[in-house]
Amino acid sequence: MTDKRPDDLDEQLTQWGSSTPPRVDGAFANRLETSLRQEIVEGAVGADRGWLGVVFRPGVVVMAIAVLIFGFAFISRASDDVGVADGAPNEPTISSTSKEGAPETSRSDIPGPTVTTQRPDEESSSPTTGDAVDPPETSVPETLPITSEQPTDQTTIPAAETTVPVTDSTTPTTAAPLPEVVATLGTPADGQIAVRWRVGGDTSDVTGWVVVRTIGDSRQTAATVREATARRVVVDVVNRDALFRVEGRSAGGDLVVQSDDVSINRDE
């Protein structure tokens, strides 16, 4: 290949481009279309609020207020300690004398506030240029921990689809929209399930980890993770009667979103 002339490379690329890939899986196409249509109906479109939306989104406002409060407290306490009226504000001043006569100094090394940061909404901050605007790539950690054990048995699961409402958000530190897990079960006939999940149509609000965990008898391993992203996790199904749940975790490992228990055996 490499000793070929430029035209040969052009020819190879042209052949590559003219090849016929496999047809789109109809079930996949229908599921995706349903999901997208649902987003339009629910009004999730337009949640992309631009840079103003980023600045004024609830999480950012909460964080800014927290920084202001801590900052004000810090300055206020530092001012009290150093005795502002007495002169140089940055030098320790003697504020009292101990019983032993040794002077005590108050210090201004007060620990700073702990600030939790929030990942900015990259989709919302994409600039508008010219006639075509596309969103920037999200940089979401994609490799996820796998908690299930190796399968011991393989069972083909018939196709089914279900939407799993999220019931619990254990870290309500931000006013992000409620996450929703959309589980699509038994996609192909080879015992796989694919779980899609989202947060108000934009998974960038929750980053980090997706864990598929079997529930109930620990010996009944239901699934092993085959591939996982922040938006989707694909697992190999083993035991058809087991339950599983999907957990979204922040980059720090905190549980952010958790689905209801879902039965893998959804062929009813």
């Binding site: 490499t2 490379l9 279309e33 987003e39 339009i40 337009g46 605007v133 596309d134 490799t143």
Partner: protein
Amino acid sequence: MSTVLFSSGATLDRVHASSHESDERALVARASTDPDAFGELYRRYLPRIHDFAYRRTGSVEAAEDICALTFESALRSLHRFRWGSGGFAPWLYRIASRQTIAFYRREGRTESERGQRAAANLTSAESPSADVGFESRGKDLDRLRTALDELNERYQRAIALRYLADLDTAEAASAMGLARPAFSVVLTRALAALRRELERMERKS
């Protein structure tokens, strides 16, 4: 009447193209609020985006993921789309090409052993319905894919949009956000870089 008005094939083509464009404009204008309009666009472009993503990645699952991300992103950004010279297709392909790059970037960040295994599973998972002829040229394609992956993102996008998407040069340029002459320059450099990378791989092997 129509035979008098449309006496030449070229005129007919122009009329059809114009009709198609106005139809698509109307769909795009309604798509962010009208599920049926978006559905029409989706069904029109899903196979094209899927083919593009599959050619680039060689994986059905990766292609499906890229399709999902592309249409989700398009839906969220549709209200900011302004019809330009390229129309809707280059805009959509631009999103798809960025999502493809992001896919490779994410894959490259896979660090844990189990994650590596998951990524290996992902890339090796081929659909049984895959075009046998397509994959029988596997070695050459793998080398091209590997070499392409090593180029910078701009060059990757230029080559992918020009050769792997069903866009003409003007549309590919529009998808890159470039004028046609500038796109030609980028493409020429990208091909030269690809050739060098193939030579480097050849020496290494």
